[in-house]
């Protein structure tokens, strides 16, 4: 492949430096004989090199060179002094020695980086791998109202068609015999088919979808068996303070307080007044000391906590009651 004029002109510099391969050299030599422009260019380049060498700056004189090594020598020793001084100062300030090796310095960053990365990775990955060991936090329960009580099992609604069918089949039998309740009577006529009774599916006329077996007509979904009509599902009934005409609940179970040994030895006597709160079943649930005798309080609280009262019923509903109990400690 032959090179064009411009390419050759650009290669002349390398040609001058004898840096081309034989093929290129041969081609350029051939081109030069014919191309005056390139020949002139090459001469110019040669002249430039000569000019550069001729006009490069002149060296300083002998004195300069004779003193040069000495100056370097003194500078080096000064340098060392400075370094030593610096190090000495450093030791004054801190007790660790500066690392001179560059390799250790260069390694410090990657090592620190790796350590940090692995630490973070461990902190992220380990909990992911061991998720079973972690305490389960119910996030939602923390923000939302408590879940509603589980709904009662679904019972059947009254299925009219089935009831009708059964009735139509049984009716003729019932009509012809007078069956007295509590007496076994053989059927007069054997029915050709006995309607299968689905025990599970006993519907109540007027029942509600989602009602409970044993529920009351007019009851509320989500209500409790044995609940009271007119009650509200989930309603919390605050205990009532005994006041006015209300009578104190009757104590069913009484546990005598134990006289504390330390109080006995100190010969402490007195009256502890306690405010007790019962739940709807009459059990003492909450206790507050109204009049305190420090050494006797705990004994009184321990005793009253075990007391059981008759449940108080207000407006047909059992309610908790708040009242005061007076316990007298006397030494015999």
């Amino acid at each position: 492949m032959l090179m064009d004029h411009t390419t050759i002109k650009n290669l002349l510099s390398a040609f001058l430096d004898n840096e081309l391969d034989d093929l290129q050299k041969a081609e350029i030599s051939a081109h030069l004989t014919g191309c005056q422009d390139c020949e002139e260019e090459l001469t110019l380049l040669q002249k430039l090199d000569e000019f550069s060498k001729e006009n490069s700056p002149v060296f300083p004189d002998k004195d300069f060179w004779n003193t040069f090594p000495g100056r370097i020598r003194s500078q080096i020793s000064q340098n060392y002094l400075n370094i030593q001084k610096k190090e000495a100062n450093m030791f004054k300030d801190s007790l660790f020695k500066a690392e001179k090796g560059r390799g250790q310095k260069a390694l410090a960053f990657p090592i620190a980086f790796l350590l940090h990365a692995s630490l973070v990775a461990a902190m992220v990955v380990l909990p992911l791998m061991n998720s079973s060991n972690l305490p389960q936090i119910e996030v939602y329960s923390a923000f939302l109202a408590p879940p509603p009580p589980p709904p009662p099992p679904p019972p059947p609604p009254a299925k009219k068609s089935r009831a009708k069918r059964a009735r139509t089949r049984i009716k003729p039998v019932q009509a012809r015999t007078n069956i007295t309740p509590g007496q076994l009577v053989a059927p007069v006529e054997i029915p050709d088919e006995i309607a299968e009774e689905e025990l599970i599916d006993i519907g109540v006329e007027g029942g509600v979808e989602g009602g409970v077996e044993g529920g009351v007509i007019g009851g509320v979904l989500g209500g409790v068996v044995g609940g009271v009509l007119g009650g509200v599902v989930g309603e919390f009934q605050a205990p009532v303070r005994v006041a006015g005409e209300m009578r104190l609940p009757k104590l069913i179970k009484r546990v005598e307080p134990i006289y504390p040994e330390i109080a006995r030895q100190a010969r402490i006597e007195g009256v502890v007044i306690i405010e007790a709160t019962t739940d709807i079943y009459g059990r003492v649930q909450d206790i507050k000391v109204l009049r305190s005798i420090p050494l006797l309080d705990q004994a009184a609280i321990d005793a009253v906590r075990q007391w059981v009262y008759e449940p108080t019923v207000i407006n047909g509903r059992p309610r908790g009651v708040i009242f005061t109990v007076t316990i007298t400690f006397t030494l015999k």
Binding site: S56, F59, I72, R73, N79
Partner: protein, 188 residues
């Protein structure tokens, strides 16, 4: 010079590594001129060339333990000189752009302080022209030109020295010559 270098350097370096200042001084005496010349061509000033060549030898002495046998001591210190010069020139360029150094540039343009005024006058012609033309080149072009023309290195050696591909050496050199040729056209 190369032969001379290989014959004597090895022992001198070993001694200098052990802290023998006389051995190191011999090395300095041997290479002070080429190192100074290189710095002088890179910077174009006597004062900075003096500073840089001193710095080069001091740095060489301090990091002499890193010098490995089998390397050429001269190309090793020349590399130090190159790095020093490049750093210096970059710094000078920054300072010039901020206008800090203006005075110093004009004050000590092309002469050593020991020169006679007459010599200075003679020189003010072509040499200054050439220096100015060289200064006009971009730094990396100038470096390649100096290494080729004054240090007489092959393209391969320059490529290895500067850690660039040989093709780049070729193109930079060609462009430097092209530019110098136009700048110095009237003197050629």
């Amino acid at each position: 010079m190369r032969q001379f270098e290989q014959n004597g350097d090895h022992k001198l370096i070993l001694r200098a590594k052990d802290g023998d200042m006389d051995a190191f001084e011999t090395l300095v005496k041997k290479y002070q001129k080429p190192i100074y010349a290189f710095c002088r061509r890179m910077t174009g000033e006597h004062q900075s060339a003096d500073d840089l060549s001193q710095e080069t030898f001091i740095k060489a002495y301090i990091s002499l333990q890193k010098f490995k046998d089998g390397m050429s001591f001269f190309s090793w210190i020349r590399k130090i000189a190159l790095n020093n010069s490049l750093n210096y020139l970059k710094k000078r360029k920054r300072e010039e752009s901020l206008g800090i150094r203006e005075i110093k540039v004009t004050e000590n343009l092309n002469s050593s302080p020991q020169e006679l005024p007459q010599e200075q006058l003679q020189r003010n012609g072509l040499e200054v022209k050439f220096k100015e033309a060289l200064e006009a080149l971009p730094l990396d072009h100038k470096t390649v030109f100096i290494l080729r023309v004054f240090e007489n290195l092959s393209y391969k050696a320059i490529a290895a020295f500067l850690n660039i591909p040989p093709g780049t050496v070729m193109s930079r050199l060609s462009r430097s010559r092209e530019k110098l040729k136009t700048l110095l056209a009237e003197h050629l």
